[in-house]
């Protein structure tokens, strides 16, 4: 298989379990996504495996008749979130009596609450899997209205006052039914919605959608236009990682570092506006190309000095003991857990997973440039910050290289086509997948899977690993995920 491919395999329902067993035990195979869609009034389930070493995505599908499908999360634990989601949206559960978490359907929601398929016959009575509170421990409810400028989310923190014993998250407060909204939409409107599903990864998610649509329509943008998209993607990574460093400074009470980080962040956002006309790069992409010409001069003149400011900040941070001490051994995600849970992006790379879709599943401009992927082994907050800093250097280099090779704008016509395809992209939060089924240019089913969906899965594990109450803010900053991306 060459790079940049996705193959589809049709399975008989009876073979699903053995297939998953075999794939989950194959080294280098990563569970990437798992979702349902209604096709000819019947539920069809799709499973996406990422074969990173073979540069291939494998989409497996089977019709889910009757009672459902075997519990896949027993062999591939990463599948748990999607098992919950398929139950909520289509009412089909993996085996009888399995405990599933509530994801996006609010508690006490009416049976008529809109879903992608039919509602389950019986709603789960508990909004979360059972957790343990006894002895001196108590549950500290935090949210859904949290700190200033933070997204809404409920955190159930089980603590004895200092040590964190358990943690669970409720994120249904932000469910906007994005996938349901996309049904029947044209591609341009779909891109508008996908950009706003998780605004901080607008380019990452949007490009994945564009790639899927362009594959179905069998068109590809001009290489110079693709380089413009690459510059937008790298700028998105730069400002997101800068924002994560600001959040780390804030959560460790380092006001000076925070202020200096905010200066870098604001400079990067202004750079986005100077190069592409929008601080968060909305509306840069268009199906078949880009809608805004990139100002390469602004990039060439402004990015290097901004990176110098960043380097001075990072040097100062690494030599500030009160900062580094809070990061070391905090919020550990072990490499084994990262592999087991199918994590992606900087969080996976900080836990020893050498994966990056720009390199492993090269697309667009990344076929012509080598991407260096930083990997750390310790899996703590320090490793995540270290990965982010290294990625910022690489992103700045890539953005300047791509701009140096010449940027273009404009779109090729995307004819209204019929068919389905998987699109992918490396957003700042890791691999973003978008599977699209088009009917004459209108969306029949779009599956939006931002990196946040995969990575929230490990937040409770990281928070439980020998941490105290006040470490949670630091761990959340180092994850730098969005609730909007999961609850979409």
């Amino acid at each position: 298989m060459s790079a940049d491919t996705a193959s589809t395999l049709l399975l008989d329902r009876m073979d699903v379990e053995s297939h998953v067993q075999a794939m989950a035990q194959t080294p280098g195979v990563r569970f990437a996504d798992f979702f349902g869609s209604i096709e000819d009034d019947q539920l069809v389930i799709r499973l996406v495996w990422a074969l990173d070493r073979e540069h291939e995505y494998r989409v497996v599908r089977w019709p889910a008749r009757g009672t459902g499908y075997p519990p896949l999360s027993e062999v591939a634990p990463a599948a748990f979130v999607e098992e919950c989601e398929i139950y909520e949206q289509f009412g089909v559960s993996p085996g009888k009596g399995r405990a599933l978490n509530r994801l996006v359907i609010p508690p006490r929601a009416e049976h008529s609450f809109p879903r992608l398929g039919t509602a389950p016959a019986r709603e789960r009575p508990l909004p979360h899997a059972s957790h343990y509170v006894s002895g001196d421990a108590f549950e500290f409810p935090f949210g859904p209205v949290r700190g200033v400028g933070q997204e809404s989310m409920y955190m159930g923190l089980v603590t004895s006052g200092e040590e964190l014993i358990d943690l669970y998250l409720l994120q249904w407060h932000k469910h906007r039914g994005i996938e349901r909204r996309l049904r029947g939409e044209g591609v341009a409107r779909a891109l508008f919605v996908v950009e706003r599903a998780e605004g901080l990864s607008a380019v990452g998610n949007g490009w994945a959608l564009c790639r899927a649509v362009e594959e179905i329509a069998e068109v590809s943008p001009h290489p110079a236009v693709n380089r413009s998209r690459g510059v937008a993607l790298e700028l998105e990574r730069l400002y997101n990682h800068a924002a994560a460093i600001v959040a780390l400074c804030q959560s460790t009470g380092l006001a000076v570092g925070q202020a200096q980080g905010e200066i870098v962040l604001e400079q990067l956002l202004r750079l986005n506006a100077a190069v592409f006309g929008h601080r968060y790069l909305f509306g840069v992409l268009a199906p078949g190309g880009t809608s805004r010409a990139a100002d390469a001069d602004a990039l060439m003149t402004t990015l290097p000095p901004t990176m110098d400011t960043l380097r001075r900040l990072v040097d100062a941070l690494w030599t500030t003991n009160s900062f580094v001490d809070r990061l070391e051994s905090c919020g550990i995600v072990t490499p084994a857990d990262a592999a087991r849970l199918g994590l992606v992006g900087p969080i996976a790379r900080a836990s020893g997973q050498d994966i990056d879709t720009r390199r492993d599943h090269a697309f667009g401009p990344y076929r012509d440039v080598a991407v260096e992927v930083p990997v750390r082994a310790t899996g703590d907050v320090m490793a995540r910050m270290s990965v982010m800093v290294a990625e910022m250097e690489e992103s700045a280099r890539l953005a300047l290289d791509l701009a140096g090779a010449g940027l273009g704008t404009g779109t090729v016509e995307v004819p209204p086509a019929t068919g389905s395809a998987l699109g992918w992209c490396e957003s700042p939060r890791g691999e973003s997948l978008l599977w699209v089924d088009l009917d004459a240019g209108r969306i029949r089913r779009a599956r939006v899977r931002p990196g946040s969906v995969r990575n929230w899965r490990s937040f409770d594990d990281a928070a439980r690993s020998r941490n105290v109450f006040t470490d949670i803010a630091i761990i959340e900053a180092s994850f730098w995920l969005t609730v909007a991306g999961l609850a979409r």
Partner: protein, 180 residues
């Protein structure tokens, strides 16, 4: 100077009665007073996380909210002003109602971005679509997202509105009722 302030000043030119002149003076005074210590609480009703990013930058060195006498507060009970982002998700109604209810009078609601204006999501089973359907909005700050400078402008307009609200309270009567 905010457009609202200009409007208020122009209106003052037509004030003839003594009481109204005093009221206008009071309004200006409260504007000055609250302008130096206005406390803000933020709440997200389903945003895409970008408006939050711009709100956080209000306290960054480039904008520095504090120099204007505006502060963020973690508790709605200390807040004069509620900054709301997102399309008003129905599942969030109760949390929003409790947050708004916890704020002392007089209070303001400032809607941030295109979502609360109905620019991104139509009203449906998930969202109200427009914030005004669930909260009395005093100032809308349009944009997707509005830049921190636009947010500051919106806040300055809102401070003027708060002064008007305070000016409309009948403090004299209240004092007489409570006197022994």
């Amino acid at each position: 100077m905010s457009p609202d302030r200009v409007r208020i000043d122009r209106r003052r030119l037509h004030v003839v009665r003594e009481e109204e002149r005093v009221a206008a003076k009071l309004r200006d005074a409260t504007q000055r007073m609250f302008g130096r210590s206005l406390h803000i609480r933020t709440v997200d009703t389903g945003s895409c996380a970008v408006c939050e990013s711009e709100i956080r930058l209000l306290s960054a060195p480039h904008y520095d909210l504090h120099r204007l006498g505006l502060f963020f507060t973690p508790s709605p009970r200390h807040a004069d002003l509620l900054l709301v982002t997102g399309p008003a998700i129905r599942a969030f109604d109760r949390a929003l109602e409790k947050t708004y209810g916890a704020m002392p009078e007089p209070k303001l609601v400032v809607a941030i971005g295109a979502c609360p204006l109905g620019g991104v999501y139509q009203e449906d089973e998930f969202v109200h679509g427009q914030l005004e359907r669930v909260l009395p909005v005093d100032v809308f700050v349009p944009g997707c997202p509005p830049s921190p400078l636009a947010l500051l402008q919106g806040l300055l307009v809102a401070v003027g509105r708060l002064a008007e609200k305070v000016g409309a309270e009948d403090f004299t009567t209240l004092g007489e009722e409570e006197a022994p």
